[in-house]
Assembly symmetry: C2
Homo-oligomer: 329 residues x 2
DNA sequence: TCGAATTGTAACAACGTTGTTAACTATATA
DNA sequence: TATATAGTTAACAACGTTGTTACAATTCGA
């Protein structure tokens, strides 16, 4: 059995309510006794009973993260970053990889103070009603019952193409997974087309390659196909970390120099980009930024408990590395 | 405020202890009233207060999984499978991606019934003392305070080489990450050498390629090097899912037919192997088997609460797909 | 018809906290 | 000397359950 404040009280020769106050640093108990009790409780290895504390209703300082489908390097990295960021605060994080429904039940039971929901690839219709909740995912056109943190995908594509444009590129292709059921991928795709239009770069179906998947070999195969064409592009935008990995692997394999012959820029802004065969210039909201925003938005929501359903689109940043260069004349 | 059994009691015109018994289907209350109360509580949307239930000390039916460093496809798959398997039981699972230390604190607070610890690549010296705990990781030579579930890695390598041997292969190379600080990788490596000896296949440094990493391009680069040799192997063993992905990508790229010219077999037994460019024959304890074993071992440990520190090495299975063939004369 | 089982329900004490109120000290004030 | 006034600490009621015990109403055997 664990020791309780009553045990401490008995030994300290004091009532248990005094112990409680002492441990909570209440001004209602003399400094001396306070110190004595705190000391004693440490010696006895006292650990407050969480369930009892919560019964008298107090916040748990725990935030639950729902990650329905555990996959992809980027999300895994984001989870890690969020956990790290959370560690700097008074909160800690637990994770559920169940369905949203079941995860919410679990978290409600545990009385977490708030919930972070990952819904990058899904649209859900959920009303958290009781627990403060924010979501990281695609905001799209929907009106939700909770705030959403999203990346400004069209802005990202715009930045990427602007950057390439300034370097003189006019033959740009996008290699990504164009899946109509995946709103995130669609936003990137639409972003690409809009930006191309905006900068007056003509394009057709040849400028867009649908990989049909998000794995690295999907990127590889796409490039393999491109290299058989008579006219090569001067720049490639990879739709995701894994895809871009495949892209540069295939280019290198075929002795196409990066960035001498073809420049490559990748979607997804994660540190791992620097550790690929060729350090990749990338675009996207950095996972660090995302993590910070998610954590502090969640905490703010919890601590002010004002019902807001604001959608926040974070600004992407372009990280320059070694994979892009000006077009040669 | 949530509604409580007292609210129900008031409306039902019965004492709250009767409500409690009714909801717990006690034989001490008449069937009629029982039904009536249960009905009513449903109507009122009653949800028992978890904290209160736990205060009177009862098990939580929740198992915590500690996953210190979230990475690698195989572990992610395993987590998913464990979660699915758990869903078939009365238990549910929460996850912590913190340090072992902090995760254990969190889980202790929440009074989880048991803990599953992932420690594939680390040795820890932990004494769970109060909470039942099992670990999935490398058993090695250590004596731990809790049971460990491990895969029989040397057996796996033995099976792989036996299989290739029977197909006539004598020129076999191992491509893996040989990192002295990673006990898992070392076990595979040692297993390879031992099995080669056992089947009387001569080998030297050329049969072993240290990729220096676990990513797919590490595998790619390794094969790239091999293909420059005058004598090619007839079979390759890939050390992990990702590495093997790179291996077949590179072979295909260089028009080396799999399995016509070179057979490939991969470590890690996960379903994704079937969805690579070439469905890969693989060896290892299947994640399904692992998940089942982990979940039911944990539950058994919890429910019998006998202190055992048994180490269980699961038997690997070889899954035949399209990547291996007999050696041509 | 009476005491003894049997059954159904109520009362109440836990569980380990926190917060409120009451009670007891000294000490300062009139 | 009686009396407010702080300053401390004790007592006790919550919080929402469960389990034990006590009580009342019914049924049963003799």
């Amino acid at each position: 059995m664990n020791i309780t404040i009553k045990d401490i009280a008995a030994i300290a020769g004091v009532s248990y309510s005094t112990v409680s106050k002492a441990l909570n640093n209440s001004s209602l108990v003399k400094e001396d006794t306070k110190r004595r009790i705190i000391e004693l409780s440490k010696d006895m290895g006292y650990e407050p009973n969480f369930a009892a504390q919560r019964l008298v209703s107090k916040n748990t300082k725990v935030i639950g993260l729902i990650w329905p489908t555990i996959e992809r390097t980027v999300l895994a990295t984001l989870v890690t970053k969020i956990s790290n960021e959370m560690a700097k605060t008074l909160y800690s994080m637990i994770l559920s990889v169940d369905s949203i429904q079941k995860s919410m039940e679990t978290f409600k039971k545990f009385q977490v103070d708030g919930i972070i929901l990952f819904e990058e690839n899904i649209y859900t219709e959920i009303n958290p009603n009781t627990i403060p909740m924010i979501s990281y995912g695609v905001s799209g056109e929907r009106n939700s019952h909770y705030p959403i943190i999203d990346a400004n995908h069209s802005q990202a594509m715009d930045d990427a193409i602007h950057y390439l444009y300034e370097l003189g590129h006019r033959e740009i292709i996008y290699i990504g997974n164009i899946s109509p059921i995946d709103p995130l991928q669609m936003e990137k795709f639409e972003g690409f087309k809009n930006a191309m239009k905006k900068y007056g770069i003509t394009y057709n179906n040849d400028n867009i390659i649908n990989t049909g998947g998000l794995d690295w070999y999907h990127g590889y195969q796409a490039v393999d196909e491109v290299l058989n064409r008579k006219a090569l592009p001067t720049a490639i935008i990879g739709g995701s970390y894994e895809i871009s990995g495949g892209i540069i692997r295939c280019l290198k394999q075929n002795n196409v120099h990066i960035p001498g012959e073809i420049s490559v820029i990748s979607y997804d802004n994660i540190p791992q980009m620097a550790h690929l065969e060729i350090p990749l210039t990338c675009i996207g909201v950095s996972v660090e930024d995302l993590a910070v925003e998610i954590v502090y938005s969640a905490i703010k929501l919890i601590e002010t408990s004002n019902v807001n359903t604001e959608i926040k689109k974070l600004t992407p940043t372009l990280v320059e590395r070694k994979s892009c260069a000006p077009v040669k004349k």
